[in-house]
């Protein structure tokens, strides 16, 4: 059976070159990077080489990159670390409603510990309005954290404008770059961010490796206490193979970025064009300002999970919302924040593309997906009279407009 992986925002396969770069640190070069003898030095050198690779990808100084075990850890570290370091100056934090759970749940943790958090609304495409950010700033605001792009709806946020506002008000600005680093050009200096989270497995690196860019001179309270790894900012013996893999993946992403983007964008546009021909299916996220490898929709009258199961029976793998909320079978808070009605939000489906996908894969999907939808709608008690569209949105409305 044909196998098509359309879930690259969940994770990516490891690039064979990345695996090769990791192997010595699983085997002969297994030393602890803090050890003084040559075995330790080789592990230490591997980490520093990886740090340079990651720093080059985002145009940062290597010393500003702190390795973590995941993008989620980097997000936790940024929010909690900056809020705690700045709490004597103020206890107000601003995030958006389209953040990943690692940001939203960190924000809730801060609320339980005496901070006030503003959750910014977004427009029908999931965009944060920089003016809304400006109007939400108070004398107490110490941190603003906005995702660079949502992995659920693909919308790329106006990070540069928001960073400018933060800087003008002397507020630390963090961007969650997990969905963007390695997938679109990311330059921390051009964006003007103080902190940026990233995860290796989003750009063909291994799971278990992430990083937080921390602008030079910015104080941050550690999340993990212990030894002096990562310059005393993140304790724990380093996952040397994973970090070496992240460095190699970053080098490859840097050199192949344009090619990867062009390839994915072509396939993405083919998917969007094909799927929007199906009645009562709506694009979520921004029509243009979106990740080049991301196509997300809501399908009326049926449930995302059912579509995923039927697609997987045909050898196709996609997602319904973020990997986390999909598992919990709950309506996506991100889709609800766009104004998508709860029932429609249940019909969320996300196709995300990668280097391994081909035009043939996409054509296979476009051939198999409409009959799957028809079959599920035949079984759906909500689909009676579906040709009329949901209230206020009939045929022809191809981008969900709230």
């Amino acid at each position: 059976m044909t196998k098509c992986y359309f879930d690259h925002v969940a994770t990516n396969p490891l690039d064979p070159e990345v695996l090769n770069a990791m192997m010595p640190y699983f085997k002969e070069d297994f030393g602890n990077p803090l050890s003084v003898y040559d075995l330790g030095m080789r592990a230490r050198d591997a980490i520093e080489k990886a740090r340079t690779g990651v720093a080059t990808l985002i145009n940062a100084k290597p010393s500003a990159v702190v390795f973590t075990a995941s993008g989620a850890e980097a997000n936790n570290f940024a929010l909690r670390g900056i809020a705690l370091a700045k709490q004597n100056h103020g206890k107000h934090v601003i995030v958006s409603k389209v953040e990943h759970h690692s940001i939203l749940n960190s924000a809730r943790f801060l609320e339980k510990n005496g901070f006030v958090v503003t959750y910014l609304p977004v427009d029908k495409h999931g965009l944060v309005n920089p003016d809304t950010v400006k109007n939400s700033i108070t004398k107490e605001t110490v941190l603003i954290s906005i995702t660079h792009a949502s992995s659920e709806i693909g919308t790329i946020e106006p990070i540069k404008e928001i960073a400018k506002t933060a800087k003008e008000n002397n507020i630390v600005f963090h961007a969650d770059g997990v969905a963007t680093v390695g997938n679109i050009p990311v330059d921390v200096n051009d964006l003007g961010v103080d902190l940026l989270s990233m995860a290796a497995h989003q750009f063909y690196g291994p799971k278990g490796a992430g990083a937080l860019y921390v602008r030079e001179g910015l104080r941050i309270v550690p999340l993990v206490y212990g030894g002096i790894q990562e310059g005393g900012r993140r304790a724990g013996t380093e996952n040397v193979p994973a970090i070496a893999g992240m460095g190699k993946a970053a080098e490859l992403a840097k050199s192949e970025l344009d090619k990867r983007m062009e390839h994915s964008k072509k396939l993405r546009d083919r998917i969007i064009e094909g799927i929007l021909k199906i009645p009562n299916v709506y694009l979520t996220g921004h029509p243009e300002k979106r990740l080049p490898h991301h196509a997300s929709f809501v399908v009326e009258f049926i449930e995302g999970e059912a579509m995923l199961l039927m697609l997987s029976m045909k050898g196709m793998y996609a997602a319904s919302g973020s990997a986390c909320s999909s598992k919990a079978l709950k309506s996506s808070p991100v889709l609800l924040s766009l104004g998508v009605p709860t029932a429609l939000a249940q019909g969320s489906i996300v196709f995300s593309l990668g280097a391994g996908n081909t035009v043939e894969d996409v054509d296979y999907l476009l051939g198999e997906f409409p009959p799957i939808i028809n079959r599920l709608r035949e079984m759906s008690p909500f689909a009676k009279g579906w040709g009329k569209g949901f209230e206020g949105h009939g045929e022809g409305e191809k981008c969900y407009t709230g």
Partner: protein, 85 residues
């Protein structure tokens, strides 16, 4: 403890919130980079530095100029002595 105010440092190492023993590693690294007679300012919130930094100076022969306090961290001043490090 010797308290000082308004010491003019040649270089500052800000290691506030960084874990122990970064204060000693950074101290060693930064003092090596100084010329004889130059002063290092080291900013840290680590209480153990109150003992460790003066002791490190005694051990290495560098001069412990003194310390100052800011809102929520300490400032230590070390002058590099000749013929050591």
């Amino acid at each position: 403890m010797k308290f000082v105010h308004g010491v003019k440092a040649d270089i500052t190492a800000d290691i506030v919130y960084m874990m122990c023993p970064m204060h000693l590693l950074k101290l060693d690294e930064m003092v090596r980079s100084l010329e004889n007679g130059q002063v290092l300012e080291i900013l840290t919130d680590y209480d153990g530095a109150l003992e460790d930094i003066p002791q490190w100076c005694v051990r290495t022969g560098n001069e412990f100029v003194g310390m100052d306090e800011d809102e929520d961290y300490y400032k230590f001043y070390v002058r590099k002595a000749g013929n050591v490090q």
